[in-house]
């Protein structure tokens, strides 16, 4: 499972790889917990479909991926003020 919700921290964690199937889950989670932050520190890749969710729903990010490509090219499109 590439995406899961952490009740205690109120964060949506995107773990290593966020696959095409995860996009649906991610959307559901973002809709259900609109105040949750995105924890993407360990994320290695985000599928384009999931990226669309992040672009459209604009959740806030708690942490940015370490991964170079995501950080350099995708992160500028995210709401990273809280990171």
């Amino acid at each position: 499972m590439g995406v899961h919700y952490d009740v205690i921290e109120n964060v949506i964690e995107i773990s290593e790889s966020c696959t095409v199937e995860d996009a649906e889950t991610l959307l559901q989670l973002v809709l259900e917990h609109d105040d949750a932050l995105i924890e993407a520190h360990d994320c290695q890749h985000i599928h384009t479909a999931a990226m669309q969710v992040l672009l459209a729903a604009k959740p806030r990010f708690k942490s940015l991926p370490e991964e170079e490509f995501l950080r350099q090219f995708l992160a500028p499109y995210w709401d990273t003020a809280a990171a």
């Binding site: 095409v20 649906e24 384009t48 479909a49 672009l55």
Partner: protein
């Protein structure tokens, strides 16, 4: 095999058939744009589908290469040569075989890749051989067109990176990638492609349509276009997008262009910032024009997609450019002012302050705009942005945006739309309604439906029994009468249902005929013969089972005509025939049977040769051969073990002969007639039932059991008085209208262990049947009526009992055994 695979296989087969057909049309009629487009589309779709499965990559690569080649041919407008067609057809065969083995589980990507590579090479050779030139031209034309992809991005990005690129003197590859909206369903992940791009320098993600509210979002509808730049080689970058080549546009900007090495004296210096400071006051007209261009470019950068989150980077870049410009012109005040404006923009997180500052172009630069234009400050980087267009900038960012910002979505849309449109037009030319008119239903479901209807037919048959019972046993006539009238209604509906399901199972014979053009073409080429194939009546329909059973025998017959029938051109010339032989395949319906006729104008069957061969092989005796009529002798080729081909070619004569054809046809209750005239040609007439589902049988009784015999072999029923039966050499026979009919007792043949019972007038019931062209009288105990039944083949152990062709359920629940007379006798 999962559902996706099954669907994929089914679709691929259809596509491959379509491709084969299209190739032949093209070869025959020359390349017209429509058929080439059609072919291209089919190959493209197939390739796309293959992309769903990782292990099909070798197949995909072959298709991909074929697609490229077709594309090149399409652009060049050249004809597909016969040799090229061969290579492409070969490739399609390879795809087809690989898919077959994949379906059957014997697929090994490793094993087929060498062959795939080989094919890719030969397909490429076609393109490079006769179509390379135009294709390259097309690419060049695209690159040289001052347009598109880089246009909107380049201005915003290139200046800040200019020095970097300049140092490295390397080309920049720009890709504009507009994924199809359903790309995720094809297993594509655009970002995955992008991240695989080597030396990625820049990435802009844009949306095609504004995002809907999050709850209405469909994450699986791709709404993005991606623009990126890389400093890797063009090939390396394009390789990444190999599978989605049609969705990208690319441009290469040469490194030297970016370095600003252009000749300044010709006033055509690039917009590069690293101009040699000229340091002269006042500003010369040439450098003024350049400076103005640079300024305008910065302005444009800021007005571009002002809302995207990357504005800050662009703003900094713009300011840096202005700074350097001001330095080179010794106007440092501009640079300072630019920095101030940037600072205020940064502080407010709003590009507007900088933008409005930029819009106030210093008078020194702005004056004599017209003369600047006349001086043609040609610009390599953004030639489209003429000075005039932007000289009157909008007052604020909000206003400027609608003017320029839509450019990006437009260019994105323009590359996506033609594709989408083409597909739409394809899918439902007359709007949505058409789309649902054809259902693809798995065959099992139809078979199940047919079985159920068959049971229904049987079940309804019990009503008359019930009515009779009501009348005779319980003496209630009214009920019996009502039952009968109800039965009439149910009977009518059941018959209509039966008819309807038969219609569903009907298939046009074109489904097997369509293979022939390819077969004939390939074989004719291989055999060095000139053959014209004529097909008529391909719309004739028959039951799916019949059609399927017919496929192999027909192919065999056509091969025979090609190999043994039609003579080589030189022989034909000698015989005074046209060089081109003709094979005519036709189909038509006659009553409840379908006739398929294969006719050639070839050499015909040499009867003496056939007889000699048959005698040589010990199939018939010499005496019999001598007494045979020509017509009879021609039928000898149907004997098992008969093959007349002097040389066993790989075309025909593989050991399966005409006997196999005959038995295959007989299996579906078909008959085959051959008529040949030496030197003139051969005609084979296949007669097949329209449908196998319902069989009309005659019920007979023997040894107190019910049997049935298919009506189509029954000639007549007669009652033969015991004294009219003669025994000659232990064989019973009788004379019927002056003709001797051999008699066989059914009880004896089935070993039922009792003699036939005559009726009270001492007459035996004899069923005269015609089997393999000969009349035989079958002695039974009694005849009953004829009925329509749904014949079910025997299963399990009983399957071995070939004397029965199947069983059927009767209305009263009893089982009826249907005799296979050919086996019984």
């Amino acid at each position: 095999m999962n559902a996706l695979q099954a669907q994929f296989i089914a679709e691929s087969r259809e596509l491959l058939e379509g491709i084969g057909e299209a190739m032949l049309t093209l070869e025959k009629q020359g390349s017209d744009a429509d058929s080439l487009n059609n072919l291209f589309r089919l190959v493209h779709t197939l390739k796309g589908n293959c992309g769903l499965f990782e292990e099909l990559r070798p197949i995909g690569s072959v298709l991909h290469c074929a697609e490229d080649t077709l594309d090149a041919l399409r652009d060049s407008g050249e004809e597909i040569s016969s040799d090229s067609a061969d290579i492409l057809l070969d490739a399609m065969d390879f795809v087809s075989h690989s898919l077959d083995s994949w379906e059957s589980g014997g697929y090994d990507p490793e094993a087929i890749s060498p062959r795939a590579k080989q094919l890719v090479a030969s397909i490429k050779a076609i393109r490079e051989g006769d179509a390379a030139q135009p294709a390259n031209q097309a690419i060049e034309a695209f690159v040289n067109t001052p347009s598109s992809t880089a246009q909107t991005h380049i201005t915003g990005w290139i200046e800040p990176h200019l020095s970097k690129v300049a140092q490295q003197q390397r080309d920049l590859v720009w890709i504009h990638y507009a994924p199809e909206s359903d790309c995720f369903f094809k297993g594509e992940d655009p970002l995955q492609y992008v991240r695989s791009v080597p030396e990625l320098e820049y990435l802009a993600i844009e949306t095609i349509n504004p995002w809907p509210a999050a709850q209405d979002l469909d994450p699986y509808n791709c709404n993005l276009t991606l623009t990126l730049a890389s400093r890797a080689t063009e090939d390396a970058v394009l390789l990444v997008f190999d599978y989605v080549k049609d969705q990208i546009k690319h441009e290469v900007l040469s490194g030297s262009l970016c370095t600003g090495e252009a000749d300044t004296s010709s006033a055509s210096a690039s917009a590069a910032v690293s101009l040699t400071p000229e340091g002269m006051l006042p500003i010369t007209e040439a450098s003024r024009a350049q400076a103005l261009r640079i300024w305008e470019v910065q302005l444009k950068i800021m007005t571009l997609n002002a809302a995207t989150p990357t504005w800050l980077g662009r703003a900094r870049a713009a300011v840096m450019a202005i700074e350097q410009l001001s330095e080179s012109l010794n106007r440092s005040a501009w640079g300072d002012a630019a920095k101030e404006a940037l600072a205020s923009s940064e502080a407010n997180n709003d590009p507007t302050p900088l933008l409005s500052w930029l819009q106030r172009i210093p008078e020194e630069l702005a004056t004599s705009i017209n003369s600047a234009e006349a001086a043609s400050a040609t610009d390599h980087i953004s030639p489209n942005v003429g000075a005039g267009k932007i000289a009157v900038p909008a007052v604020s960012a909000e206003k400027a945006q609608p003017d320029i910002a839509p450019k990006a979505p437009e260019s994105a849309a323009s590359s996506v739309e033609p594709l989408a449109k083409a597909e739409k037009a394809e899918a439902h030319p007359d709007g949505e309604a058409k789309q649902v008119q054809i259902l693809k239903v798995p065959r099992e479901k139809i078979d199940r439906l047919m079985e159920l209807i068959g049971e229904m037919v049987v079940a309804k048959n019990s009503l008359p029994y019930l009515a009779e019972k009501a009348e005779t046993q319980y003496g209630v006539r009214e009920v019996a009468k009502e039952l009968k009238s109800q039965y009439a209604v149910i009977n009518r509906i059941a018959e209509e249902m039966q008819d309807a399901i038969m219609q569903v199972r009907m298939m046009p014979v074109s489904s097997i005929f369509q293979r022939f053009p390819r077969l004939v073409r390939d074989l004719a080429k291989k055999l060095g013969k000139q053959i014209k194939l004529e097909i008529t009546g391909e719309e004739t329909e028959a039951d799916k089972n019949i059609i399927e059973a017919l496929a192999d025998p027909l192919i065999h017959l056509v091969r025979n005509s090609l190999d043994h029938g039609i003579e080589p051109p030189e022989d034909r010339q000698e015989a005074g025939k046209s060089l081109e032989g003709t094979i005519h395949i036709s189909a038509h319906q006659e009553g409840d049977r379908v006739h398929i006729i294969i006719e050639d104008d070839g050499a015909g069957i040499d009867v003496t040769r056939v007889k000699r061969k048959a005698v040589e092989k010990g199939l018939i005796s010499e005496e019999k051969a001598a007494s045979m009529s020509d017509q009879e002798a021609q039928q000898l080729i149907f004997l098992p073990g008969f093959s007349t081909a002097a040389v066993i070619s790989d075309v025909s004569g593989r050991g399966v002969g005409m006997d196999v054809v005959r038995s295959a046809i007989a299996k579906v209750n078909g008959t085959i007639h051959l008529h040949s005239q030496l030197g003139k040609g051969t005609k084979v007439d296949l007669s097949l039932p329209l449908t196998m589902a319902v069989t009309n049988v005659m019920m007979i009784k023997s040894a107190d059991q019910s049997f049935a015999v298919p009506m189509d072999i029954v000639v007549e029923t007669v009652r033969v008085p015991a004294d009219a039966i003669h025994v000659v050499q232990d064989h019973k026979m009788t004379v019927l209208r002056g003709k001797i009919i051999p008699l066989r007792s059914l009880n004896d043949m089935l070993h039922l262990g009792s003699g036939q019972v005559p009726n009270e007038d001492n007459e035996y019931a004899v069923l005269v049947v015609k089997v393999n062209g000969e009349s035989v009288g079958i002695m039974v105990d009694d005849f009953h009526s004829t009925i329509d039944i749904i014949l079910r083949p025997l299963e399990g152990l009983l399957q071995q009992m070939q004397v029965y062709s199947g069983t059927a359920l009767l209305g009263d629940g009893s089982v009826l055994l249907v005799l296979n007379m050919k086996e019984v006798l």
